[in-house]
């Protein structure tokens, strides 16, 4: 799958109304992301990175432009179908971990799989497997309160990966973590791209993460300033 276009967005624009003023946050952004690559979006705070991710992932409709995701025109779909698309194909990792306080690590993962109609025993097997893969084999029964920030983020990653998504969106996944935990997290995302062939879009302003990027896109003021392929152009198959 490596090298295949996963996301192809054209002319994305989005503005927020604050009182009578309209603030343009995205100004005609074109964006692509490939399977098997970590695409890193960097830029100062308020430059529109999160808004871009929201538009790419079907969380917030842009005012203008279109998003082709896995070959489907995302914003032409009905709302229910967009939910369905995310359920089938998208994984999310946020700055906050957003784990249910009452569920242990295994249950957090199983909860999501339940909605994918994965059978109970299969869901359990997959949950344990993916938690093992993120290095939490010894933490299966722990609830969020008993986990460190880095461990919580790894549970969140496991939750996202367990669905076997083709698209993974991470918005500042390491900014609430210490640098060691941050390294672990970005490595896992990198691994997901390499081993699973997922298209991983990571928003960050942590320059240390650049080492794991295949491609770095700089944004400022709602526009893309630069787009650098680090690991060379993807092999088109």
């Amino acid at each position: 799958m490596t090298g295949k276009l996963a996301l192809n967005a054209k002319g994305l624009s989005k503005g927020y109304k604050i009182g009578k003023l309209k603030q343009q946050v995205l100004k005609g952004v074109d964006f692509t992301a490939y399977h098997g690559q970590v695409t890193m979006v960097m830029g100062p705070s308020g430059s529109g990175k999160s808004t871009l991710i929201a538009a790419l992932s079907g969380l917030m409709k842009p005012d203008e432009g279109e998003v082709m995701a896995l070959g489907e025109n995302l914003w032409k779909k009905k709302r229910g179908k967009i939910d369905r698309f995310r359920l089938d194909h998208c994984g999310f990792i946020f700055q906050g971990f957003n784990l249910f306080p009452s569920l242990n690590a295994t249950q957090q993962v199983e909860q999501v799989l339940k909605y994918q109609k994965v059978k109970k025993s299969e869901a359990h097997r997959r949950a344990v497997e993916v938690l093992d893969a993120v290095g939490l084999k010894h933490r299966l029964k722990q609830k969020p309160a008993e986990l460190s920030g880095g461990e919580k983020q790894r549970v969140a990653i496991a939750r996202a990966l367990s669905k076997m998504p083709s698209l993974i969106f991470a918005d500042e996944p390491t900014s609430a973590l210490d640098s060691v935990s941050g390294q672990v997290v970005i490595k896992l995302l990198h691994q997901a791209a390499k081993e699973r062939g997922a298209a991983v879009v990571v928003v960050t302003h942590d320059p240390r993460l650049e080492a794991y990027a295949d491609r770095v896109i700089h944004m400022e003021d709602g526009k893309i300033l630069s787009d650098t392929m680090i690991s060379g152009p993807p092999v088109i198959v």
Binding site: L59, N98, Y115
Partner: protein, 378 residues
């Protein structure tokens, strides 16, 4: 375990207000109805424990309480039925009671209801649960029998003397199961009743107690007696009369209205508190819900979680209600207050609590709009 249930258990403190609100609403209604039902039950205790299978009341009477006077000539009419073994009028009359206070004891004076019984085993006027000792005690002139819970109210102990209508009587014993909220019942023999001026030999009598040769034919005989009486009286089986008297109690004095009002207040308070509590609790987890939304879980599924949550809150409320009501029932037993919680009240109250919980859940669904996954992106 489902997400809803484990959330409720893990974060029970958050849901406590809702659970308590439901339990208090349940307790409010059940305690009220329980008290009135207990009262009604103690009113009808004399009917329920009578050995008579059939009771004769004037045609217009709907129960034991109200105008139950009728002409004495009904007695021979009832005897005309070949299945009838014995007919006796039920005599209940008012008397003034006062105790002889011992040192430091307060003087107690009260109106009491004298229930006249024949101290003969098997007599139609004698409650079937009176012991032999009680029957023997009643045979003495000026002997009276009280319910155990009335001793304090009337300021006497077993063996004490007291005054009724100015004559000195002796408290010869106690029975259990005849408490009365409003008027204390005092059992005497017909002889004693004469001595203290409460027996009435006039042309009118109260309800007639009818003992049958074959107790199993009560329903049939009652119907035949009604034909025989041709509208001059109405024959009731004991069970019919007991039920109708209880219902009459409920209808009387706006008790039903009061209970209805309490139920309404309970429902209202229950809904408001449960709803607000649920909303707050959902809001506390809104980011988690939003992250599920992001991962593609539909709004409908999240709504189901909330409804399930409110269902479990209702179940928890029910459990707490049972605990509270059991406590109140125990206290009432200790305090001698008659209370009764018949199933035909418990089940609607349980349903009411579940409806409150689920309705609150439905009202709380709106808050889910705040679970915008885009808000998690910042």
């Amino acid at each position: 375990m489902s997400l809803a249930l484990s959330t409720l258990i893990y974060e029970w403190r958050r849901y406590l207000a809702a659970v308590i609100a439901l339990a208090v609403a349940g307790l409010l209604v059940l305690a009220m109805t329980g008290m009135f039902m207990g009262m009604a039950l103690s009113f009808t205790a004399t009917v329920d424990k009578s050995p008579a299978q059939i009771m004769i009341l004037p045609p217009q009477a709907e129960g034991l309480f109200g105008d139950s006077g009728q002409p004495r000539r009904m007695i021979p009419m009832v005897y005309e039925h070949p299945g009838v073994a014995e007919v006796q009028p039920m005599i209940m009359n008012w008397a003034m009671w006062s105790n002889f206070p011992k040192d430091g004891q307060p003087a107690k004076g009260d109106g009491v209801r004298v229930v006249v019984v024949d101290p003969v085993k098997g007599a139609v006027t004698l409650p079937s649960d009176f012991s032999d000792a009680t029957i023997e005690a009643l045979k003495e002139p000026f002997a009276v029998i009280l319910d155990r819970t009335s001793l304090g109210k009337l300021g006497v102990q077993v063996g004490d003397k007291a005054k009724m209508n100015g004559r000195t009587v002796t408290v010869a014993g106690v029975v259990d199961g005849y408490p009365n909220m409003f008027n204390t019942q005092v059992f005497t023999s017909y002889q004693t009743a004469k001595l203290i001026y409460v027996a009435d030999d006039g042309p009118r009598v109260g309800p007639l107690l009818v003992k049958l040769k074959d107790p199993t034919r009560a329903k049939q005989v009652a119907a035949e007696l009604n034909v025989l009486g041709a509208g001059q009286f109405k024959a009731w089986t004991r069970e019919e009369l007991s039920k109708s008297s209880q219902m009459g109690m409920m209808k009387e004095g706006g008790i039903a209205i009061m209970i209805g009002f309490m139920a309404l207040v309970g429902v209202f308070i229950g809904i408001v508190i449960t709803w607000q509590t649920l909303q707050g609790a959902i809001l506390a987890n809104i980011k988690e819900f939003a992250s599920l939304r992001a991962l593609g879980v539909s709004m409908g599924e999240l709504r189901l979680i909330i409804i399930e949550l409110s269902f479990w809150v209702g179940v928890a409320g029910l459990i707490l209600t049972v605990i509270l009501v059991s406590g109140v029932a125990m206290l009432a037993k200790v305090g001698g207050v008659p209370m009764d919680f018949p199933l035909f009240l418990d089940i609607p109250v349980a349903i009411m609590l579940m409806v409150i919980a689920i309705l609150s859940g439905l009202f709380s669904l709106g808050i889910l709009k705040k679970s915008q996954p885009a808000d998690l992106l910042r």
